[in-house]
Symmetry: D2
Subunit: 341 residues, 4 copies
Amino acid sequence: MKQRVSIIGASGYSGAELLSLLSRHPYAEVTSVFANSSAGKRVEELYPAFRGTAAGSLVYGEFSPAAVAKDDIVFIALPSGEAMKHVPALIDAGKRVIDLGGDFRLKDSSLYTKYYKHDHTAASYLPKAVYGLPEWNADAIRSAQLIANPGCYVTSALLPLLPLLKEGLVEPNGIVISSMSGVSGAGRSASTELSFTEVNESVKAYKATVHQHTPEIETVLTDFGGRTATVTFVPHLIPVTRGIFSTMYLRPAAPLTADDIRAVLTRQYASAPFVRLIGEASPEIKHVQHTNFIDIGWKPDPRNGTLVLFSVIDNLVKGAAGQAVQNMNLLIGANETEGLR
Amino acid sequence: MKQRVSIIGASGYSGAELLSLLSRHPYAEVTSVFANSSAGKRVEELYPAFRGTAAGSLVYGEFSPAAVAKDDIVFIALPSGEAMKHVPALIDAGKRVIDLGGDFRLKDSSLYTKYYKHDHTAASYLPKAVYGLPEWNADAIRSAQLIANPGCYVTSALLPLLPLLKEGLVEPNGIVISSMSGVSGAGRSASTELSFTEVNESVKAYKATVHQHTPEIETVLTDFGGRTATVTFVPHLIPVTRGIFSTMYLRPAAPLTADDIRAVLTRQYASAPFVRLIGEASPEIKHVQHTNFIDIGWKPDPRNGTLVLFSVIDNLVKGAAGQAVQNMNLLIGANETEGLR
Amino acid sequence: MKQRVSIIGASGYSGAELLSLLSRHPYAEVTSVFANSSAGKRVEELYPAFRGTAAGSLVYGEFSPAAVAKDDIVFIALPSGEAMKHVPALIDAGKRVIDLGGDFRLKDSSLYTKYYKHDHTAASYLPKAVYGLPEWNADAIRSAQLIANPGCYVTSALLPLLPLLKEGLVEPNGIVISSMSGVSGAGRSASTELSFTEVNESVKAYKATVHQHTPEIETVLTDFGGRTATVTFVPHLIPVTRGIFSTMYLRPAAPLTADDIRAVLTRQYASAPFVRLIGEASPEIKHVQHTNFIDIGWKPDPRNGTLVLFSVIDNLVKGAAGQAVQNMNLLIGANETEGLR
Amino acid sequence: MKQRVSIIGASGYSGAELLSLLSRHPYAEVTSVFANSSAGKRVEELYPAFRGTAAGSLVYGEFSPAAVAKDDIVFIALPSGEAMKHVPALIDAGKRVIDLGGDFRLKDSSLYTKYYKHDHTAASYLPKAVYGLPEWNADAIRSAQLIANPGCYVTSALLPLLPLLKEGLVEPNGIVISSMSGVSGAGRSASTELSFTEVNESVKAYKATVHQHTPEIETVLTDFGGRTATVTFVPHLIPVTRGIFSTMYLRPAAPLTADDIRAVLTRQYASAPFVRLIGEASPEIKHVQHTNFIDIGWKPDPRNGTLVLFSVIDNLVKGAAGQAVQNMNLLIGANETEGLR
């Protein structure tokens, strides 16, 4: 039987990607799409790629709790600070909620305030939130009411790092995560800084060491890896539309060969349908675009006591909408890959 | 009085950039351009941007020592392994030579063989080579006969790293250099891997930890920084035509503030005309394109015991042709910025 | 029941796109992929995006007629001049063949020689070829043994032009087709001209007025439009990976309003599942990327006695592999959209 | 002696390019730069590429007539509708003015109102304006007080078209101008439509047949070409930062060979320093980027009674700031190429 699902914040890039995935999902029926700034417009007016499809004819509405009264699952794809306004009522009404934003990823609301620069107004709901990283938290996800979908950079970093940390093979401090992201990660908005002329033929770092994904990475490394870890995270904006490439630099606790790395990653991910281990090589963004895959490569540098890990994802799919659908699949007892291949 | 200069390997991107700079230089007269594969063609046939200029009408010749008999300075912009075939005769004939390639950068020919994958056939000329990093080696450059122009990545890494290493402020081991380069750095050649379709909308790392610039960086850090240093160097190919962005991750020997970094860099570069210190911020490739500038930024991350340094250059200018002209200026006693502003 | 299908020339971009579509098609089983230059390699070695899929594990073979003895349908995605070497034997062996290249599109072998610059060595098979433009030739396609899949530019031009020509609403001479194509249209090959550095931040026209798609457009306009037509076709290469944008300039035989245009296009395409009429507006390449849609827009300019038509397609899908699958669907009696949504 | 010059609207892309050119011009001294929205900021804050240069230290001021009291020449690089607010006072005060915008290009203010969608409030100054196309109007420019610098698209179209029209070799009606422009032509502004994510990997036409450069092209074709001409002008936005590529389709009055075209263009442009005639070939944007050149190519298509002309310019240089400096050179009696090579 199909789940009735709706999307709050369906006019952004993640929301549109989610709509695209859900509208073709065998077990989902998208009942409504909400986007206050575009209320009254059809989806295909904002996203003409949807022309000629049923999803394209949906009309953005203004969200109200009553509008989702008959829905089973509500997805939220809003900027930080917005989901917390809607989640309490939705949870109290018994809805299952998958939030693609950052509002319910950090259990510690003071960390939230520090990195997101505003207070958390629904902190009492934080304990209900289950971290939606399917490869590490599937059981909890299956029975969750509120799922906090991981950040895009975070997903790209956690999946390679966690197995090594969990097995105690690398130093948990001094971890370096050097990431490059395509511009769609910044969302759909009017900004001189994100204009083609400014971004094309250039690269810049931004929010170096203070990006809000930093505490999320550290928290999850500790929660699932079992160690207090600190990371230096530096994201770079590159002239690419979709995709994240993360290069991680670690110090092995004891010498590790490429085969050792493969063994530990294989132990963890042998049956993970969206993790591809590519060996002592570099992944490439183009190989995962428009897919829910993460490709992971590695390269020990024993001369310098360093281990290099690489990963690539599509920031809008495995980094957002695809992972949200993967979480929904777990939630409804479907095959994890349903609607994602 | 003008120097008579010629360029061997003038049909590649670095060679063409060099021709562009030298043809407008007040103290240089380009007498001949050599490119065996394009012999007989006019420069403007390969590079129509030169149409309507005197340089555009030059005809590529086949190089022979006799052809440069009357020249003062010979620039070489050939792939590795090629310059070493010409340098001995040129040096023996009393020419001053500026080599933009890698053949004379490493004093240790066994390192050369290891990283460049072929033997060095002119090792006896290595002691004559002076490393052409003007900000650190100006005196030696002024009186050199053979100048080894630094590698593009190397330049971007050395200028930020050297002052900190020299003053003993950072650990000389475990240095991480995570670089991104535009595609012109790979030269002008027919290659499926470098085709637009393969490079656009993607990123990949290549030669991670084994790139031939690794020993060059380490050697120069030791020679000028005064410490045995080891680095993990990972270059990434990004969809940009020109430019290198390097992000470096260091461990301070003792806590360093942003002001400390500014102080040490300022001590070194206060009078360096092409080094711009931009503070606790990220530089951007577009700000240095088509210029000989290097922009350097920094960001301490005391939480994690890490210091992040950033730099950007135009790989064809400060990373190749521009720096070569800067070296020529020193060599001929001209103002270091002549022809480069 | 599934058709047994194979692909000759599966290592190029069109071949890979075809493999991707066919491997997920409900009525097709890809039995073999041929690519002489890559024989012995797995598909995922050339195209790592296929990792983790069944298609990715296929091994490229060398083509021989015996190797397809049990297949029902053979797709050919080879450069011009190559398909004609294989088609006679395949046809004689009773295979159904869909050729994505240009060898069987022109009935007049002298035109072929003139524009393709080599002789046609299988001219006696030209009469068997059915032109694979589903929106105009579906009945013949259903019963064809040899289908000539239209050229990419041709598809983008014919679908907007034909209805107007057929109804006699525009002058059949003096038609202008000004097209822009992404670089994947040039195929997967090592070429300095197609390197990122050469293509990025630039535009050029090529083969203006003499491109081999010119006679194909004129022939089909005459065959299906019922008028002798001549066109000036100018393709431009733009820094985009996938997609064609065609702007056509026509002279109306009598004044035409925007509503008139909509009426005539609607008459023709009301039930065509992949044609989207977007009105007096410009289509955009991004709206059709990775789909089999063609979006058509229009804009009369009565001041100047001109009618402007616009179209966009994905050159690898509607312009090649997608249209080939659409043709296969007709051939096997399946729904035209099977495997393409 | 140096001219005292100032720039109103110096914070946009054209203004910044102009500042870059004027600050290196031997006969100009930039006394002030005005940009109300950025008043109080240094140029290098908005354009860090200027760091380390004198121009970078200039502070944007708010414009007032008093602020330019001692200046000789005032450049205006403002959006349409803005220059007309300042020009009357400047002209009355005896300043020489070069306006890069559209306000004084059309002599007929009703045409202005029709295409620019607002009234002209300084129509009485239109007769004073001299059209700043140096290759066709040099004498008038030399003695002008108010120069209307041509539009970017207009420049790319007029220079190829005018000689043919003037000699009566092509039909003056039914001319088609199909142009592609880089994104910097749209100015420096916050806009979702111009964001990297929207522009990259796509193409769209905009303002087809109704762009405000249409009447400018037609007026100048008539004024300098001596014929009443009508054009269909369709601009396309492409994922390039800088550059315009225009393809023009004409109907020859009598058959014209490629040699004929060369002859007529050579007659007109033999001594024009910035016009390069490249023959029966396509120009390429990259060959003119960052230069004041226009490259013109051509290709007759006698089969279809059509003549194709091509041109490329850098929209910010020959299409704006470079041409403005070329006009200033004429105005001050300097060599036309001063500061532009």
